[in-house]
């Protein structure tokens, strides 16, 4: 028997169990606060998923995942804010008054219509990632340079969200007063419904990505990660593959941004902060960037720690987080999933050389 960690069937089984358990959580939890908190974790898990995809599998260390998250969050915030406006008596959100606006700016017009708004919130960040990816990877920007370019781009958007106050409310952020209204239904962020919507999205994305990574496309992506030069000599368009995986990760982060605002009813430039985007990388690193599910669990663990350890570690939390991160990078480059892999590997050692072992 080989390492069960690399057994595709075992992997799929683990994924199924994981999501089924998550789906049952609201049935067990009584407090609405906890349901909402867990829904937030699901969304953060989705961000770790996007990091795992782009960094773990694509080998592209992007510190700019917050761009897609933030842009989508703003799109959703605008959509939900417009649901609270009235064309007659309250045509524009009140923060615009401070900035001398008397009419709704054209940028905001499409958000009167919620489905259009949500669609834009998903499409615009994805297209932006496609464009940025094309610019970077066609110029063969690689390694730490990608990190720096995405970081600079993120900083640019951050200062933009701050400065364009007539459109974004700047530092104050946008807080739509009412929950999202879909048709006749209002999605209370504290309901199990909101939780299940988030979970459904996370599940579909995770399983979809896993299937994709098992496909030929996924294998080429990893070949590109291991050695772009050799992949190029083999005739693959390295840039095209890198752009695809980068764009896909942007889309995943954008879905997270939309769900986040549905759940917390608030968006501000903090979504575009550098530290937030780096924290996502921390989650993925802790859980294991080479494992989609590992990265998600990493996000759950770190955020759960922050929420539940709380006051005993009050002053020490950042110390612990920073220290944990150093230790993980230093001793466990593949995170907890890597640890599991080596533990399971010990059980399976007796048998023949392990099978090829797809992505985890």
């Amino acid at each position: 028997m080989s390492n069960p960690y690399h057994n595709p069937k075992a992997q799929w089984a683990a994924y199924l169990v994981f999501f089924v358990v998550l789906a049952c959580v609201p049935l067990m939890v009584e407090n609405t606060f906890t349901v909402n908190l867990l829904a937030r974790f699901l969304v953060l898990g989705m961000l770790a998923l996007s990091v795992s995809l782009v960094w773990g599998y694509g080998g592209i260390l992007s510190l700019g995942q917050g761009i897609a998250f933030g842009l989508a969050a703003y799109g959703m915030g605008m959509t939900m804010q417009m649901q609270a406006q009235d064309p007659e008596s309250m045509p524009i959100p009140s923060f615009m008054l401070t900035n001398e606006l008397t009419e709704l700016p054209a940028l905001w017009e499409p958000f009167w219509h919620a489905p259009t708004g949500i669609a834009l919130a998903l499409i615009v960040p994805t297209l932006f990632f496609a464009a940025l990816g094309t610019i970077m990877f066609q110029a063969r920007v690689a390694g730490v340079f990608v990190a720096i370019v995405t970081l600079a781009m993120l900083s640019a958007w951050y200062s933009m969200a701050f400065d364009m106050q007539p459109y974004t409310a700047g530092f104050n952020g946008i807080s739509p007063p009412n929950p999202l209204q879909l048709g006749e239904y209002s999605i209370d962020p504290y309901s199990a419904t909101a939780y299940w919507i988030a979970l459904a999205c996370l599940t579909v994305l995770t399983l979809g990505l896993k299937a994709l990574l098992h496909s030929k496309f996924g294998l080429i992506i990893q070949a590109v990660r291991e050695d772009p030069e050799r992949a190029r000599f083999l005739g693959y368009s390295v840039a095209a593959y890198q752009v695809s995986v980068f764009t896909l990760s942007g889309f995943v982060a954008a879905v997270a941004g939309v769900l986040w605002v549905m759940i917390v009813q608030y968006v501000s430039p903090t979504a575009l902060e550098v530290s937030f985007s780096v924290t996502m990388v921390i989650w993925a690193a802790v859980g294991g960037r080479m494992s989609l599910i590992g990265a998600i669990i990493g996000a759950f663990l770190v955020n759960g720690m922050q929420s539940f350890l709380g006051d005993e570690l009050l002053y020490g939390f950042l110390l612990v987080l920073g220290g944990l991160f150093i230790v993980i990078v230093r001793f466990l480059p593949n995170g907890l999933a890597g640890l599991l892999e080596s533990v399971l590997g010990r059980f399976g050692k007796r048998a023949a050389p392990s099978d090829a072992g797809g992505p985890v």
């Binding site: 260390l61 110029a139 390694g143 340079f145 900083s155 640019a156 002053y315 920073g322 220290g323 990078v329």
Partner: protein, 301 residues
């Protein structure tokens, strides 16, 4: 009562002053970036905690001044030495284990920056501290159309001095020769009897020390607080990346260029908008010259 506060019209005197301010900004960014440039150029390590070394320099100055009563001008070199020592320790404990994984050093040093910020917050307290500078620096000087504070002139002077000393160390001394040898090829340098590990420790310590020097001065124009380092790190990176890896002259030119672009944009529009354009221009620049201004080819590490 409305003022068109977005565009400022051109006028000779303030525009000349804006150019001068650009020079002053450049000196601030250069001194903040110099250590980063050396460490990255030599070791290929992206040090995300560089801003926190700046912060440590500022706190060192504060402590030396308020606890030991040292005069400000003496605190500045002390900050260099003390932060360099801290840098050496960190290199031995953490950085040296990650040389083969440049992306991971980026992440580990980010973790380090969290620890340093929170550690300082716990030990010294979260409230901002105050570094006092000598009275003669708290005034401004005038010549022709220019007007600038002496403190900015002081920073400018120290930056130039630090730059010249660094250049001299690298080009004219034996240690510098060893550093350059290790930069070019670590294995062959080691085969010639150079202790590469020691060179790396020295380089990292020197880079950290430069950050400490910068922090000692920055504490006096603003305040000293635990997360002050975050305010410099992105700009410092841009200076290094635009300048080109391992090129001191590149860093100098890119700091000058970025400082002037920023200041001129800030003069005609405003600071936040200027920053946005700065970031955008850098991204566009890197699209066409990913290796930076002064490097021949993209380093493959």
């Amino acid at each position: 009562m409305s003022v068109n506060h977005f565009w400022t019209a051109f006028a000779f005197e303030p525009f000349m002053n804006a150019l001068l301010i650009g020079l002053s900004m450049a000196s601030i960014w250069l001194i903040a970036a110099l250590g980063l440039a050396i460490v990255y150029g030599t070791m290929g390590v992206i040090n995300m905690a560089h801003g926190e070394f700046v912060m440590l320099g500022a706190y060192t100055t504060y402590l030396l001044q308020s606890v030991f009563g040292l005069p400000f001008l003496l605190c500045v070199p002390c900050a260099f030495l003390i932060v360099a020592a801290i840098g050496a320790i960190i290199e031995k404990l953490l950085i040296r284990h990650l040389y083969k994984r440049p992306l991971d050093t980026l992440l580990a040093t980010w973790g380090l920056s969290l620890v340093l910020v929170q550690g300082v917050r716990l030990l010294v307290g979260p409230e901002p501290k105050n570094v006092t500078s000598p009275a003669f620096l708290n005034a401004s000087m005038q010549f022709w159309v220019f007007e600038l504070s002496w403190f900015r002139v002081f920073i400018f002077g120290v930056t130039i001095a630090a730059f010249v000393v660094t250049w001299w160390l690298l080009q004219k001394t034996r240690v510098g020769l060893m550093v350059r040898a290790v930069t070019q090829n670590k294995e062959i340098a080691a085969a010639h009897g150079i202790d590469a590990g020691r060179v790396y420790t020295l380089t990292f310590a020197y880079g950290a020390g430069l950050a400490g020097l910068a922090g000692a001065m920055f504490g006096a124009i603003k305040n000293v607080f635990p997360d002050m380092g975050a305010g410099y790190i992105v700009e410092a990176f841009l200076v290094v990346v635009v300048g080109g890896v391992g090129s001191l002259a590149g860093s100098l030119v890119s700091a000058l260029g970025l400082g002037e672009i920023y200041s001129v944009f800030a003069y005609f529009t405003n600071g936040t908008f200027a920053k946005f354009w700065l970031f955008l221009l850098v991204v566009i620049f890197l699209r066409f010259r990913p290796q930076g201004l002064f490097s021949e080819a993209l380093a493959r590490r």
